[in-house]
Symmetry: C2
Subunit: 224 residues, 2 copies
DNA sequence: GAATTCAACTACGTATACATTAAAAGGAGA
DNA sequence: TCTCCTTTTAATGTATACGTAGTTGAATTC
């Protein structure tokens, strides 16, 4: 456990705080916020807020709309489909690359631990813990893939998945099927079966996508 | 031919100009530039330059290094391998989605025209025209795929491919094999063969990657 | 001669002031 | 009452000022 060190600059602080506020829903989807308002809320001037919003726009969490304030982006079903399509391809790539890399069981320990964590959380019916372990699992998977840009993109889009997940946490059934997938993927990576790893993970992600979009649809989220 | 309208804001102007300067090599790889220097060069104050460099950092074209100026990112072989891996997956996805979308021959006209343009350029041995048509082809392909985020990511990474290509334009052989691939992909999309389209494009991209990295290696580009 | 300390410099980070211009409000005319 | 034009407002885009901290280079010490 490393302490998240306090940001060196106000811009970094604004970036972290605003990101958290969006992910937690404190800044709700579709809401508008003036630069000056956010600056006051964060106790700084407009300059660092402006710089942070530019970056957040690049991450797809909000949209800068001149004279109307920044608009926190909604979570539409269409958006989630796009994000899941990309995560499916890039994580599957990472799985294939990880398998090809010839990792030892020791190298894959973090992956295995995340799997076991998910099992445990599932047994306790602890959705929050399960979600955290699931995220750790996906993060570790792309890390093993070894492509730094894939790592960055996946982290970025995982933020958006987290937002959708936060909106659906209690509505979704416990994801019983996932753990079998995770174990199969672990085996494929360990035995160096690149295309097998790719396909296992792709199917896993496609199932997850169907689940989430069905729930969003039930909850009345707009398609666009 | 639509005239590229002049940017509404200085920040947008700085973004366009700096991007062009990096892609053209006017700001060479590995070079450092102070904010004040760039501001003077662009005839504006530091503020819009700062904002532009933040975005360009997000696009991976430069790195902001406090008190050392922004560093224009080098084009390493490792970087290109990462970029090509991602482009391979996302464009293959786009190809599959385009095939699944059931486009008519009319819908695919722009794709076909780009192919023919490449043929023609190849016959003239006009590498620059070929490169332009090739880029149009890839852009149109992902547009047909219909995932707006894929379009954005591919455009972003195409900037980096363009940089590498600019460094290798005269060193590479004429890409004779490409056109057969393009025609086969066209057929697969038209007939709705999603998995065929995906595989054809994946193989195409893998070959292109091998070609470029071999050339970069010959030219003595550093691996990292 | 090498290492360390100190002082000056300077580039950046941030606040603030100001110009610009889109949007909103208000008023006149039909 | 509706529409169009004018006026006003206010949020942004940009410039600028300034404090701070990282860097450099020189001076001093070992």
């Amino acid at each position: 456990m490393t302490e998240p060190d306090r940001p060196k600059t106000s811009t970094a602080a604004a970036l972290n705080r605003l990101r958290e506020m969006i992910l937690s829903g404190e800044l709700s989807a579709q809401s508008d916020h003036l630069e000056a308002e956010l600056a006051t809320r964060l106790g700084m001037s407009r300059t660092p807020v402006r710089e942070a919003t530019l970056v957040l726009q690049g991450m797809g969490l909000l949209e800068v709309r001149p004279r109307k304030g920044v608009r926190i982006k909604p979570i539409t079903i269409r958006d989630m489909e796009e994000v899941y399509e990309i995560l499916t391809e890039l994580e599957s790539l990472a799985a294939a690359r990880a398998a090809a890399a010839g990792y030892s069981a020791d190298d894959l320990r973090a992956l295995k631990e995340a799997t076991e964590e998910m099992d445990a959380a599932l047994a306790r019916e602890d959705r929050a813990a399960w979600a955290a372990a699931d995220e750790a699992y996906h993060t570790e998977l792309v890390r093993l893939g070894g492509n730094s840009r894939v790592i960055g993109i996946v982290q970025m889009y995982n933020d958006q998945v987290r937002r959708a997940r936060a909106a659906t946490l209690d509505a979704r059934p416990l994801p019983t099927a996932s753990n079998a997938d995770h174990r199969a993927l672990y085996e494929a990576i360990l035995t160096g079966d690149a295309e097998g790893a790719r396909e296992i993970h792709r199917r896993h992600r496609i199932a997850a996508r169907k689940l989430l979009t069905a729930i969003l649809s039930d909850l009345g989220q707009p398609y666009v």
